[in-house]
């Protein structure tokens, strides 16, 4: 997930010449409405920084403005508060929205919760919750990972027990993006520990303001705390907020995870990525400037480092474009998208090593306001854990993309309560 709004590079492009009459009308309506109403896109302004509550509040207002102007949920059915138009209208909207900030903190709601509800929600759930997202009234998060383990999602420990007509949830969730500013959460919990682990899970819609829900932001080494840990202590959930069948939560979770991956592949923050892709390669002048600031412009050993940094960045960009094009036109299998995450991890790690070598001691300490130290901090803070650890991504690519055999599982065919978990300790 890109974290800041980059200025689009290259000339702004529009497909205006392809518009039908109806599309043209929609384009003009969007253009007129947004002008003067939506705040401008500010380069460097965070797109994904839930700890900045005023920014989150700003995004709620932006979404409300779009809703009021009849520009929210363009492809969402009318029954659920959307416009019921096709994808072409969404593209037109984004072309027109390019100069403005959009409601980027609603990424979880639109990329994940919306597709899950459309696929598995009851009619009542769709009518109740989707308009709330589209109008900016309700912010959503997903309650998935647990302190006992993030990679092994199906091994989660949070329990949901039937009490009367409803359910009571107990346990803990962690790495919840924006948990502390969310109104609702999509929550997977274990409803039957006596069957094999994938078979005893159920998906719920949980009110984040419910009694018994405690939400603590997590302080990260890199600064900020846009993730939270939640403790669920007898949190009540009515049965009408159950998504899918009891003990069929794994099916719902698959939709959820696929939606997350698809969201990342297409660009998490709608309107942010497409404009940032340039047709031709350029060599980042930031590296040139850095080498000069460090006084190493003429040092062949330093130039070797800068040159390699150019290469890894360029290859990363080209590969992203190749995979996007290839999965779109079917020349590459959909699984090719998994490869991108791996390349991010390897590229990031190598870049920080290269820049550290370039900076030498300036990479570990600097006079306030000067260049350098941020490079060493990158080495301390850049790791691949969120969004699936590197190890899980390597498993995925090797099994689903390359088709290599799965490791024989030890825990797939036994009752969950016979598997050793991290809860079993002292």
């Amino acid at each position: 997930m890109e974290n800041t709004a980059e200025a689009p590079t290259g000339p702004r492009r529009t497909s205006e010449h392809l518009d039908t009459e109806e599309q043209r009308a929609f384009r003009l309506k969007a253009r007129d409405y947004m002008a003067g109403r939506l705040p401008p896109r500010i380069p460097g302004e965070p797109a994904n920084a839930f700890e900045q509550v005023e920014l989150v509040e700003k995004d709620r207002q932006i979404q409300r403005l779009l809703w009021d102007g009849g520009l929210a949920g363009i492809t969402v059915p009318r029954d659920y508060g959307g416009l019921g138009l096709d994808k072409r209208f969404e593209d037109i909207f984004h072309e027109e929205a390019e100069p403005y900030r959009l409601a980027w903190h609603f990424g979880n709601a639109f990329n994940i919760v919306l597709p899950v509800l459309l696929a598995h929600g009851t009619e009542a759930q769709k009518k109740k919750y989707i308009p709330g997202m589209l109008s900016g009234a309700q912010m959503w998060c997903q309650l998935l990972s647990e302190p006992s383990g993030g990679s092994d999602l199906a091994g989660l420990l949070t329990r949901a027990e039937k009490r009367g007509d409803g359910w009571v949830l107990n346990g803990s969730k962690v790495w919840t993006s924006g948990g502390h500013v969310s109104d609702m959460g999509l929550c997977l919990a274990r409803t039957d520990p006596t069957v094999r682990k994938h078979a005893g899970l159920t998906m719920f819609l949980v009110n984040m303001h419910a009694p018994g829900m405690t939400i603590n932001p997590i302080r990260l080494v890199r600064g900020g705390s846009d993730f939270c840990q939640e403790f669920l202590d007898d949190v009540a959930v009515p049965d009408e907020d159950r998504v899918g069948e009891v003990n069929d939560g794994w099916t719902v979770a698959q939709t959820q995870l696929n939606a997350e991956r698809a969201g990342m592949a297409k660009g998490w923050h709608a309107g942010l990525r497409p404009a940032a892709v340039a047709e031709h390669l350029t060599l980042p002048q930031s590296y040139v400037k850095l080498a000069r600031q460090l006084g190493r412009a003429n040092d062949p050993a330093a130039r070797e480092l800068v040159g390699e940094a150019f290469v890894i960045d360029a290859v990363y960009n080209l590969t992203g474009r190749r995979i996007a094009a290839g999965t779109r036109n079917g020349r590459l299998p959909p699984t090719a998208g998994m490869v991108s995450s791996l390349l991010v991890a390897r590229t990031d790690a190598r870049r920080t090593a290269l820049l550290s070598a370039l900076a030498g001691p300036a990479g570990v300490a600097r006079p306030a306001g000067s260049v350098g130290r941020e490079i060493g901090m990158e080495r301390v803070t850049t790791h691949r854990i969120g969004g699936g650890t590197l190890e899980m991504q390597l498993n995925l690519v090797s099994e689903r993309h390359l088709g290599l055999p799965r490791e024989p599982g030890f825990d797939r065919d036994v009752p969950f309560n016979q598997i050793r978990t991290n809860a079993a300790k002292g």
Binding site: V288, E304, V311, I323
Partner: protein, 375 residues
């Protein structure tokens, strides 16, 4: 494979693959290597009939340039050549044919291009010097003017098929700039010094110029304007070399995947062991990178895009480095059989290591990128 190829290009790819599988599979290289013999001119003529070098030759001179997308199409062929570690002067023939087609006089075009297109004439590209950090720029031969003519002195390094070549394209540096010359093989003052090469399908030599006197008719283009010609040649050469390297990696990776799926140890296919899986996943990611970079290089050289000079160096650095890294690990995963002469994989590794070093090592292209970035 470039994911944006059109139907014609997919057909070209298919046709090339079938021709090579039939007439010059990897076993052909093994036979050459076992017998110690040199270039098979017969197969080169057969291949030329398919229109490989002709991609760069105008119709007026027996080619098909007008109906082709030269560099992109040639890159398709080069990738297939990599898959069978083909032994033949494809790269240098294409570069020289393209150079003559673009800058040659009518006499030069009529004199040389038909033979290049048909495969009867072999060309050697005398471009770089012999320095260990070189290869990515012209050098090695100097040029002095002498009345109306020129004198060439020095050493052109690592020239492919210089011994077999009928024609040499020589790049030389003088005080007033860079000049290029077309000289027939055996021209007085030129000696070819064969090298021992690790790539068994590529015969390389240094070419020595000792006071070689040439007339103005040998000049290709102008003395002053040759810098752009030379850059174009380097770009074409790198685009084709990278495409070939992609084919080399792709095929080696392909049969390694087959191997780890079918080979059992401890009651399981070895491809089910996590350590191998993770290494293969990483290789797959870098191989996608190689394909993306090589395809972009071919496309931007063909279209003369503003980033062409950058694109070829990016591709060369990435393809060069990861070809060697990936195929070395593929050998490792084969276990004992991978280090025997009888297994084909060493031919792939040899080509990869050789391609990494020729026409500029990754380090040489990092330096070139810094210059292109204004550093």
């Amino acid at each position: 494979m470039d994911v944006t190829l059109d139907e014609d290009q997919l057909m070209l790819q298919d046709m090339t693959r079938r021709f090579l599988e039939d007439r010059s599979p990897i076993g052909a290289l093994r036979k050459l290597a076992d017998s110690g013999s040199s270039l098979d001119r017969g197969i080169w003529r057969e291949a030329s009939e398919l229109g490989w070098v002709a991609l760069f030759v105008p119709e007026a001179n027996g080619g098909i340039a007008e109906s082709a997308q030269g560099v992109i199409d040639a890159a398709i062929v080069a990738e297939e050549l990599g898959r069978v570690v083909f032994s033949g002067p494809f790269l240098s023939s294409c570069v020289v044919a393209d150079a003559i087609a673009r800058a040659g006089s009518e006499a030069q075009r009529d004199g040389w291009l038909p033979g290049l297109a048909s495969g009867d004439t072999l060309a050697a590209w005398c471009f770089a010097g012999t320095e260990a950090k070189g290869g990515a720029e012209a050098g090695g031969v100097t040029l002095t003017t002498d009345g109306g003519g020129f004198v060439l002195d020095g050493l052109a390094g690592y020239v492919e098929e210089a011994e077999a070549a009928d024609l040499l394209l020589v790049t030389a540096r003088g005080e007033s700039g860079v000049g290029q010359f077309l000289l027939p093989a055996g021209f007085p003052g030129i000696t070819v010094e064969p090298l021992e090469a690790i790539d068994l399908g590529r015969r390389l030599a240094h070419v020595r110029f000792a006071g070689v006197r040439v007339g103005p008719e040998a000049l290709l283009g102008a003395v002053d304007g040759a810098e752009q010609q030379v850059e174009r040649q380097l770009q074409v050469a790198l685009a084709l070399q990278c495409a070939e390297t992609v084919g080399v990696i792709d095929r080696a990776f392909e049969f390694t995947l087959e191997w780890v799926n079918q080979r059992y140890a401890f009651g399981r296919p070895i491809g089910s062991f996590q350590a191998l899986k993770h290494r293969l996943a990483d290789h797959a990611a870098q191989l996608e990178g190689a394909k993306a970079a090589a395809a972009h290089a071919a496309r931007s050289v063909q279209t003369g895009a503003p980033d062409a000079a950058i694109a070829v160096s990016v591709a060369k650095s990435h393809c060069g480095r990861f070809a060697t890294e990936i195929i070395r690990d593929c050998v490792q995963m084969h276990g004992g059989i991978g280090v025997t002469w009888e297994h084909d994989i060493h031919f792939y590794l040899r080509r990869a290591v050789s391609n990494e070093a020729l026409w500029g090592s990754p380090a040489a292209h990092h330096e070139r990128l810094c210059r292109l970035a204004g550093l």
